[in-house]
């Protein structure tokens, strides 16, 4: 666990609070800072995301208010497994868990999420309605776009059907951990929909037969694009912006079938030890300053309407009016119900 605090340890804080409680019992006076929110444990992905949560939310907004913020770092799979394993405990080990929108839905369906008390999150008045879930709060979003290297793919693609096409042979790269989104994009490019991924399977098998490369992670794809081993793939626009910044010579295209949304947010486990602090952390997460910093640092769009994103950043990471019309949300129910079956097909028929 990474710890971000201002040098006030829990032990010191408890000692001080104990002493003050004694004094205040005698005098009937309680100073404001003695009402500290205590410790808040945030389950999150590691790497840049965790660092930026610390830099843009924890350190500037929580620590001055005497909160101790601890990051429980891990992949979302591990953290979801942990939530399930801790479900029977009266007191869990985390106050918040960062998950994608379908994962938040899945955890809520499993009965593991606390209903969000929006009265405790004043900043939620500016929250985009699509990201205001009864069981979680959206933090950032991006959309699935096509990335291609103009040197290797001379005819710019315009659609998922163009991108996920056997004609690209070994120049097409597919990310293993992005299997639901790849199947979704292949389905959209083959007449399927958000509630029917079946039509995309034939297209994917044809691509595999033609030599499409399957890479294990997003980072492996970034390297393959950089090395020009791969010329075309699909990815979140935010990632594309990061990779372009890192020197990958790729252009992006918003597919004409629609731009599937990627929303990342936070849920509060039902057995969170400090539910009030969790709500407070969510409120601070929606502060315009935090949202603006995330857009600048990470290339993701914020989830509030009152953040002031510089026009050049907006142009780089956002979507124009026409593209915004094509943003489509995922069907979380379909994904939750079919994820195991989709993964089994992916492992056995597509990769096998």
């Amino acid at each position: 666990m990474d710890k971000h605090d201002s040098g006030i340890t829990r032990r010191r804080l408890l000692k001080a609070t104990g002493a003050l409680a004694g004094v205040s019992a005698m005098s009937g006076f309680t100073p404001a800072w003695a009402q500290s929110g205590g410790r808040v444990v945030v389950g999150t992905w590691g790497g840049d995301y965790s660092k930026l949560l610390a830099k843009n939310i924890d350190t500037p907004l929580l620590v001055p208010k005497k909160y101790e913020v601890v990051h429980d770092i891990g992949g979302d799979s591990e953290r979801r497994a942990k939530m399930r394993a801790e479900a029977r405990l009266p007191r869990g080990t985390s106050d918040l868990q960062g998950l994608s929108a379908p994962q938040m839905y899945e955890m809520n369906e499993a009965g593991l999420c606390l209903p969000i008390d929006y009265a405790k999150i004043p900043n939620a008045q500016y929250l985009l309605t699509q990201m205001r879930y009864p069981y979680g709060v959206g933090h950032i979003y991006s959309g699935k776009v096509i990335l291609y290297n103009p040197k290797l793919i001379t005819t710019p693609p315009t659609s998922f059907a163009d991108a996920i096409d056997p004609k690209h042979g070994g120049k097409l790269g597919i990310i293993d951990i992005q299997y639901p989104y790849t199947m979704m994009a292949a389905a959209l490019g083959s007449g399927g929909s958000m509630t029917n991924y079946e039509p995309g399977k034939e297209r994917l098998l044809a691509c595999r037969k033609a030599g499409a490369k399957i890479l294990p992670t997003n980072e492996a794809m970034a390297q393959a694009l950089q090395n020009e081993e791969v010329g075309i793939c699909i990815m979140w626009k935010a990632r594309a912006v990061q990779w372009q910044k890192a020197g990958a010579k790729v252009d992006t295209v918003a597919p004409k079938e629609g731009i599937p949304l990627y929303i990342s947010g936070f849920v509060i486990p039902k057995n969170a030890p400090n539910k009030d602090a969790a709500h407070f952390w969510l409120n601070e997460m929606l502060q315009p300053s935090a949202q603006e910093a995330f857009a600048e640092d990470m290339g993701y769009n914020g989830s509030v309407t009152n953040a002031k994103i510089p026009p050049e950043t907006e142009k780089r990471i956002g979507f124009n009016a026409d593209e915004r019309k094509r943003l489509i949300d995922l069907d979380y129910g379909y994904l939750a119900k079919n994820d195991a079956a989709l993964k089994e097909w992916w492992d056995k028929s597509f990769k096998g």
Partner: protein
């Protein structure tokens, strides 16, 4: 003092003393191994539903699914094949190294031993990362091959069985060397000298004297390497990539990726049972062969 010794020697007291000495380790084993394994076995008999993950039941459907699905059977056979191959290569490579280490009188013997142990200071994932640098399409090997004009296009080394076998051997080799070296140290040089003195050549001495005497070490090293290879996780994930699937990562994927705990538990039990059966059988066969 005399009466105290007499008290200690009484059978009842001895039994209590033995029980008291065994108890802490037994409790640790119970809590740390037996209990989780028992819970895992119980989970393997449950049913999977995507929303609830597990529904209490007593069913063999997860085991039936494994044994009737060629895909999962293929993963098990691939794992056994890789583990057996890696173990065989490890023993063949480790024996001469261990023999030299055991017989050397060099003042650098401790340094040589340290050189064998040194890779164990680094985690499997870090070592696999090193192999990735070597095996990548723009890695050291491919750059060298292209630079020397031996190949035009990079060879696909990453994400292949070859890469996994090399990676697993690199992880297991020090364990086998150290196990063998400990046993070879205990073999009296006089036995070898007697064999050579009686006219046996080096090969006959090795086959009929050293190898049978070193057999406990060979068996222990084989078991150790086989178990490690059967349960390998980081190396197959990092060097095998998405398409080369082995049992360890598949078990993890069922638990963490798909939240299918009942099937993951069943896979874990199949892996554990297969490892145990193969280990016990090979141990029994080797002992029977060299007891004659």
């Amino acid at each position: 003092m005399g009466s105290a010794t007499a008290r200690l020697e009484r059978p009842g007291t001895q039994a209590w003393t033995a029980a008291a000495m065994i108890a802490p380790a037994s409790i640790v084993v119970m809590i740390g191994i037996v209990l989780p394994v028992a819970i895992l076995f119980r989970y393997s008999l449950n049913q999977f539903t995507p929303a609830k993950v597990m529904v209490d039941a007593v069913t063999l459907e997860n085991y039936v699914k494994f044994f009737t699905d060629p895909f999962y059977r293929a993963i098990l056979f691939r794992t056994i094949r890789v583990a057996a191959l890696c173990t065989a290569i490890c023993v063949v490579l480790a024996f001469p190294m261990a023999y030299c280490l055991a017989r050397t009188r060099s003042r650098f013997k401790n340094l040589l031993l340290m050189a064998v142990i040194l890779p164990l200071f680094v985690g499997n994932a870090v070592r696999a990362a090193g192999w990735m640098v070597l095996f990548g399409n723009r890695g050291f090997i491919n750059s060298m091959l292209i630079g020397l004009g031996i190949t035009r296009e990079p060879l696909q080394i990453m994400y292949t069985e070859f890469a996994v076998v090399v990676g697993v051997i690199a992880v297991n080799l020090p364990f086998v060397v150290l196990t063998l070296q400990a046993v070879l140290e205990g073999i009296d040089r006089a036995v070898e000298e007697a064999a050579l003195g009686l006219g046996a050549g080096p090969w006959r001495t090795f086959r009929h004297v050293i190898l049978p005497l070193a057999m406990p070490g060979v068996i222990a090293g084989t078991i150790l390497s086989f178990i490690l290879a059967m349960n390998a996780y980081a190396t197959p994930v990092l060097l095998g990539g998405p398409t080369f699937q082995m049992m360890g990562p598949t078990v993890y994927n069922q638990f963490a990726g798909l939240s299918n705990w009942p099937f993951g538990a069943a896979l874990a039990f199949v892996l554990m049972t297969a490892t145990l059966l193969l280990t016990v059988t090979s141990n029994w066969m080797a002992q029977a062969r060299y007891r004659r």
